[in-house]
Symmetry: C2
Subunit: 161 residues, 2 copies
DNA sequence: CGGTCTAGTTGTATAGTACAACTTGCCAGT
DNA sequence: ACTGGCAAGTTGTACTATACAACTAGACCG
């Protein structure tokens, strides 16, 4: 790794400022992950974190296949199949048979799906705004940049993939 | 909220740099949460994210009650009870009856528990180090600070609570 | 055509979780 | 001292998300 280690580290004890910072990042990311996990199921009466993510992807992509969702989010196709079935049952998405390939179902948001997605997005946005309300703009921008950079890293970490 | 909004925002469309940054933070935190959730169960053959967290808390606190764990992590006491039972079965923690109050079991890490916890911590640390290897030290320090500040916020956010 | 690949579904199992009902022990008020 | 209520933990039950494996249906290649 590229971070210099000055002096012998005794079983993982950080010896540089950088190591201390990495330590803190690990700890705080873990805290965040735990909290996120705890609230993932009840972020919205209609929508779990996974459903929300899938719906968001459908909106961004303007419709895609279940297989694409599975690949993109590293979920099993059976898992996606059941999630999709639930979302369809709830009337939030619809399936359109691909005329070119009858194995394929292209998934699209319905009007109701767009509506719920917008609602949840807005409520999440409000929560984040609230939480970040007293941050100076410069810090917000830098924090956003760091997060993007972190997530863009090749997903090798056991804590972030 | 304290972030200035200049001009009418059309249904949540950000109109300032700060709004854009909040938007990005929300999106990236969501991505992180999803990935963390996906890997929470398989971060270690022995230890889920929750077990790891509980063990870590026991180490920090030097022993506490199941009820404290439940309160601290917003888990049901039955959930903690089963987790604790599993950790005890695995020989990672032990229960000591509180002599002052026989309803209470004070939980302590065993030697094996300390060992496994150290292993997992080290492997997580290595993953983070790896991922952050090419970050300048100044950025690491700032990122760490931002995360601490974010998590320290009163847990009102649906994505971070 | 026939073999193989791909998309998706369904059966089954597991983990983590919550809620409710229960047991045991503590304590305070009468 | 009894008794009623509160606190700590356990257990029964149910639900959700997930993975893996077996299967069906369609496409494509030779």
């Amino acid at each position: 790794m590229g971070v210099a280690v000055e002096g012998a580290a005794v079983e993982g004890v950080p010896v540089t400022t950088a190591e201390t910072a990495v330590e803190t990042i690990q700890r705080e990311m873990t805290i965040f992950a735990r909290r996120a996990r705890a609230s993932a199921g009840r972020m919205h009466p209609e929508l779990s974190l996974v459903s929300y993510t899938l719906l968001g992807h459908l909106e961004e992509s303007g419709g895609c296949r279940a297989t694409d969702l599975a690949a993109h989010y590293a979920l099993d196709k059976s898992t996606v199949s059941r999630q999709v079935a639930a979302l369809e049952r709830a009337g939030l998405i619809e399936r359109r048979l691909d005329p070119e390939d009858h194995r394929v179902q292209v998934l699209h948001l319905t009007g109701a799906g767009q509506e719920i997605l917008a609602q949840v997005t807005e409520s999440r946005r409000a929560a984040f705004r609230e939480r970040l309300a007293d941050w100076p703009e410069a810090d917000l921008v830098r924090f956003a940049g760091y997060l993007e950079r972190y997530n863009a890293g090749t997903s090798a970490g056991s804590a972030g993939d």
